[in-house]
Amino acid sequence: MTESFIMILAESLTRRFGDRIAVDHLSLEIAEGEVFGFLGPNGAGKTTTVRMLAGLLAPTAGRAMVAGVDLCATPQRVRSIVGILTEHPGLYEKLSAWHNLKFHADLHDLPRPHEQIEKYLRLLGLWERRFDPVGAFSKGMKQKLAIARALLHEPKVLFLDEPTSGLDPESAKTVRDFIAQLASERRTIFLCTHNLYEAEQLCTRLGLIKQRLIRVGSPQQLKRDLYGRQIVIDLKEPLSLAGEALQLPFVRSAQANGRQLFVELDDPERHNPALIRRLLELGAQIQFVREHDRSLEEVYLELVAEEQKQ
C-alpha cells in the first residue's frame, strides 16, 4: 500500500466524552477503492469513529488524514469531500425528494445541481417520485434518497452507517447492490454494520472495534487467524479415522463426528491429496471433501468474547 493510495489514515485517534473513552487510540489505513467493514457491538465506538473521520466531531487526541486532507486542521474541507449516510436517513419529511437533494446540493455549492440530482434519483429509481413529500416514502425509499444525498457531490470517501438496517430483504439487496456498484467505481467505502452477511459480501477488509481496534483483516484472514483452515470429509460409512489422520505430519488436529471427519491443515491446497490418499488406503469411502467455512458470526462472537475476557 503506497502513501498516495491511502484514503483514510488514522493514527492513535482517540475520543473521550468526559471520563468515558468512546474510541481509544485507533490506528488504521484504508486504501483507495477499499470497502472497509467496521464491526462492533452497540456502544463500541463505531458511530463516534465515523463522526470523527467525517469531520463532524473533533478527536480528543491523535490525528487523521482523509483523502489527503488533515482532519484536525481543516474539518470543513473534509466534510466537503466525504459523503455520509447517517444511522437515520434524517430527511426533511415535508419537503419533496427534489427539494431535499437541492438543499444539500446548494450547501455543497455544486456547479450543476440539477444534473446531479437527476442522475442519482434515476439511478436509485426515485425519479418518478421526485416531487412527492418524503414523508410519504417507504423506509427503503428514504434510505435510497439518503444515499443519493450522500453521493450528490461525488465524494471520494463514503461513510455508510447501517445502510440496510430495518429494510425489507428486497430493499436491502438493492442497497447492497448499489454499494457494490459504488465500490466498482473505486470509491473508498467505510461501512459500519451489524449485518455480518452484508459485511462478508461487500467488504474487502473488516475491522472489529470495542473502544479500541481488536482485529483487522479480510473476512477469510480473520477466520483463518482464529480457527486455522479446516476441511470436512463426508464418508459413506462412519469410520473412526481421526487417530490415523493425526499420524500425518501436516495435520494439526482431527476430529470424527459420525460420517464426518474434520481435519485442520496449514495448507489444504498442498496437503489434501496426501490426506485423501491415506484415508483411501485406510478403507474410507469418501463422498465429498470441502473446506469448513466458518461463519463470520462465529468469528465475530469469538473475538468479542475474547475481548470481554481481557
Binding site: 444511522e87 437515520h88 434524517g90
Partner: protein
C-alpha cells in the same frame, strides 16, 4: 449574504410553509388585524376643522401610542414560531447530523436559522409600518399628520429601525436556545413567550400612560435589549457547537 446561510434560510421558510399554515397565518393575520383596527380609528377621526389643537394632540397621542405598542409586539411574537420549528423540526426528523456533515459551519447554521425567523418579523413590521403611514397620509387631515410626525416621528423611527431588529434577534435567539433544550413544540412556545414579558410589561404600562412615544424610554429599552442580545449570543455560540449539537441536543 453567504450562500449557505441563504440556502438554509430558504429551506427553513419552505419547510415552515409546508409544516404549518398557522405560522404564516399568524405572521400575516396579526399585523392585518392591527392595520384594520388602525384604519377604523383613522376613519372615525372625522373633520378637524372646528376642533381645538389640544383635543387633536390628545387624540393623536391615543392614536399613536397603541399602534407603537403593536409595532413593538410584532418582532417579539413573529420570530418564535419559525425559530422553534427550525430547531425542533431538525431534532424530530433527526436531520441535524446530515446537516452538520455538509460544509456548513455552526456559525452559519445559527445565523441561517436565526435570520429565517428575524427577516419575516422585521419585514412584516416594516411593511405594516409602511401601510400604516400610507393610510395616515390618505385618511387623516394634513395638520394631524404634521403634528404626529413632529411629536412622534423620532420615537417611531427608533422603534422601527432600532427596537424591531434588536427585539427580533432577542426572541429568535432565545426561542432557538429554548428549543435546543426541550423536545416539545408547545413547551418551547410557552417558555419562549415568557421571554417577552420583561419587555412587554413595561411597554404596556407606558402605553397606558400615553408615554410610549417617549424617545428616552425607547432608547433605554433598546439599550437593555441590546445587552440581552449580546449575552444570549454568547450562550448561543456555545450551544451551537458541533459537538454540543450531536451529543446534547435531544
Amino acid at each position: 449574504m453567504n450562500k449557505r446561510v441563504r440556502v438554509l434560510m430558504l429551506k427553513e421558510w419552505r419547510e415552515a410553509l409546508k409544516s404549518s399554515k398557522t405560522i404564516w397565518i399568524g405572521t400575516v393575520a396579526l399585523p392585518a388585524l392591527f392595520l384594520g383596527f388602525s384604519v377604523y380609528l383613522m376613519l372615525t377621526f372625522g373633520d378637524l376643522n372646528d376642533a381645538d389643537i389640544e383635543n387633536v394632540r390628545h387624540f393623536v397621542g391615543a392614536l399613536f401610542n397603541f399602534p407603537l405598542l403593536y409595532f413593538m409586539m410584532f418582532p417579539m411574537v413573529i420570530p418564535i414560531s419559525v425559530a422553534v420549528s427550525a430547531i425542533i423540526g431538525e431534532k424530530e426528523q433527526k436531520s441535524l447530523e446530515p446537516l452538520l456533515a455538509t460544509p456548513l459551519t455552526t456559525y452559519e447554521l445559527f445565523l441561517g436559522k436565526a435570520l429565517a425567523s428575524i427577516v419575516p418579523a422585521v419585514g412584516v413590521t416594516w411593511v405594516a409600518f409602511g401601510l400604516f403611514g400610507l393610510f395616515m397620509k390618505l385618511l387623516l387631515p394634513p395638520q394631524v399628520v404634521t403634528l404626529a410626525l413632529g411629536e412622534f416621528g423620532t420615537a417611531w423611527l427608533l422603534t422601527i429601525f432600532l427596537f424591531t431588529p434588536l427585539t427580533s434577534l432577542l426572541m429568535a435567539a432565545a426561542s432557538m436556545m429554548i428549543a435546543t433544550r426541550v423536545s416539545d413544540v408547545r413547551a418551547a412556545y410557552q417558555l419562549s413567550s415568557f421571554v417577552m414579558l420583561p419587555i412587554l410589561l413595561p411597554a404596556i404600562f407606558f402605553a397606558t400612560q400615553q408615554a410610549l412615544t417617549n424617545v428616552s424610554f425607547i432608547v433605554l429599552l433598546s439599550g437593555a435589549i441590546l445587552l440581552f442580545d449580546l449575552v444570549l449570543l454568547r450562550f448561543a455560540v456555545k450551544l451551537f457547537r458541533r459537538e454540543e449539537i450531536l451529543t446534547r441536543w435531544r
